[in-house]
């Protein structure tokens, strides 16, 4: 499989805190890579470093074999990297349709074509009935779908999703999981940060586990589940809490 994303020894410190410390991993075409770790492990910082919002202290990021280090976020996006946010960022004063049209326009098509494309994406995320609703009128789960539709409208080759199932009620989770699988079947490589262990183990081909900015393991889900450091840092806490 072709390597889509290559992260090499990426490091970033804020003051004295090493948010990311020599992180390396690769994502191949069509894979779903899950990223796990307790709060403060450096997951969102890693996303910011890859998408150009934060400049790394050292290390490199390659997308489709070319370095995207020090490129502006909009240029990185136009190369084919889409992103959703942990703290949702819909354009609240615009309708769902307008939100997705803005995404579709990024592919260089005209307004009419963008409208058609947007409707297709809104249908894909099962929100066609809500297309004329303002984003501020949508529920959290619907806003997550909006962000997915908007990111998908940019036709990304790599989609980075920050806690898609976070903050939504349990009934909404299976629908979002199905949606991620549907996206992946379209051939989109996915990087997803998740706290929901059932979800991440179910959908991921590989998992990158982080703790205090360091990579603990990057392997298949079943191996990650058995890793002692992961259990100590994360799964153990979850299991302990659950039991």
């Amino acid at each position: 499989m072709t390597v889509v994303l290559e992260v090499e020894n990426l490091s970033k410190s804020f003051g004295g805190i090493k948010a990311n410390n020599n992180i390396s991993f690769r994502a191949s075409s069509g894979e779903i890579i899950g990223i796990i770790g307790p709060n403060g492990a450096g997951k969102s910082t890693l996303f910011d470093l890859i998408t150009g919002y934060t400049k790394p202290d050292s290390g490199g990021v390659k997308f489709n074999g070319k370095s995207i280090l020090n490129l502006r976020p909009d240029l990185i996006s136009s190369l084919g990297i889409g992103r959703t946010f942990q703290k949702l960022k819909p354009f609240l004063d615009q309708t769902l349709l307008e939100n997705v049209i803005i995404g579709a326009l990024a592919t260089g098509i005209n307004l009419n074509q963008a409208r058609d494309k947007a409707l297709e994406m809104i249908d894909f995320v099962d929100l066609i009935d809500k297309r004329h609703y303002f984003a501020k009128e949508l529920s959290t789960g619907q806003r997550k779908r909006l962000e997915l539709a908007r990111a998908m409208a940019t036709e990304p080759k790599l989609l980075m999703m920050d806690e898609v199932t976070g903050g939504v009620d349990q009934k909404t989770v299976p629908g979002l999981v199905e949606l991620i699988k549907k996206l992946n079947k379209l051939g989109v490589t996915i990087l997803t940060i998740e706290h929901n262990m059932r979800v991440i183990m179910d959908i991921s081909h590989k998992i990158l586990a982080l703790d205090q900015g360091k990579k603990i393991i990057f392997d298949k889900p079943k191996n990650v589940q058995l890793n002692e450091k992961v259990i100590d840092a994360y799964l153990g806490v979850v299991n302990a809490t659950t039991s």
Binding site: Y53, R72, D74, S77, F85, P90, D93, I101, L105, L111
Partner: protein, 287 residues
């Protein structure tokens, strides 16, 4: 006092209201896009009036003809303002932003006084002069056409922002810069465009006003104050709010001057403004 005089005052107020609205729209667009209040807005109006004056004096171009040139001059000035000053203070504290644009206003006004002296100037014998009489109501032609051009420009601005691809990108950047960038929108370019559009609006109003207003380095101060009131009254960042607020200001100024006392017409405007900001701080159409 006859009904004709009251109608005359209402029409005069409306005509000035459309001009105030366009000036305020420029200010509101810049604020709505990047959250920066341009305290040099009045000085940009002054620059457009001087541009119009010099194009008439040196090249014999009437203001109505020189509108595209003054628009271009002010649009370039807006882009330069963004790239040479604003982009360095985008993430700075508000006090830094205030000092920067206020400093720019002092600089531009002083520069105008240095280059052109504080003398009052005017465009003599413009194409638009005299008055129109409709059913016993007299309307100055320069004011009438200035309002018409401002209203048309306002509608074009509204359509551009709400119906064009670039307008959607502008709105997206205004609402969430980071989200817009993930969709391939270059926010820095959008900010520069915002300044170009904002100052183009003020240049149209300034050029048309150079037909019937004296031109001097301090001329923008009064209009900038009204623009700030219109933006706060209409709601920060709301373009439609600027139109309604511009009309309210024009009418209050004109009718207040007629019905109460013309010496206090500014007071009536600021009184309305105070009432609105006390009871509805986000303005009439603010978010």
């Amino acid at each position: 006092m006859t009904i004709e005089i009251i109608i005359q005052a209402i029409i005069s107020g409306l005509l000035m209201g459309f001009i105030y609205a366009l000036i305020a729209a420029g200010l509101s667009l810049i604020f709505g896009l990047m959250g920066i209040v341009n305290f040099a807005h009045g000085e940009h109006l002054m620059l457009s009036m001087f541009s119009s004056f010099w194009l008439w004096t040196l090249l014999g171009l009437d203001p109505i003809i020189s509108i595209p040139i003054t628009m271009l001059i002010l649009a370039i000035s807006g882009i330069l303002t963004h790239y040479l000053l604003i982009r360095y203070i985008l993430k700075a504290k508000m006090i830094v932003q205030i000092c920067a644009t206020f400093g720019l206003s002092v600089f531009l006004r002083s520069l105008a006084q240095f280059l052109w002296t504080p003398d009052f100037r005017n465009v003599g014998n413009p194409l638009l002069e005299g008055r129109l009489e409709i059913a016993g109501i007299f309307i100055g032609q320069p004011q009438f056409y200035a309002s018409l051009v401002c209203l048309l420009s306002f509608l074009l601005l509204y359509l551009f922002v709400n119906k064009s691809e670039t307008g959607l990108a502008l709105q997206a950047t205004a609402q969430d810069r980071k989200a817009a960038e993930t969709l391939g929108i270059n926010s820095n370019k959008m900010f520069a465009l915002g300044w170009a559009l904002g100052l183009s609006c003020v240049s149209i109003a300034g050029t048309m006003m150079s037909n019937f207003f004296f031109i001097f380095p301090d001329v923008g101060v009064h209009f900038a104050l009204f623009a700030f009131v219109a933006v706060a009254l209409g709601g920060f960042g709301s373009i439609i709010g600027c139109l309604i607020a511009g009309i309210i200001i024009g009418l209050v100024e004109s009718l207040g001057g007629l019905l109460i006392d013309p010496s206090y017409k500014l007071l009536y405007v600021f009184l309305i403004y105070l009432i609105v900001v006390i009871y509805r701080p986000q303005g009439l159409f603010g978010r």
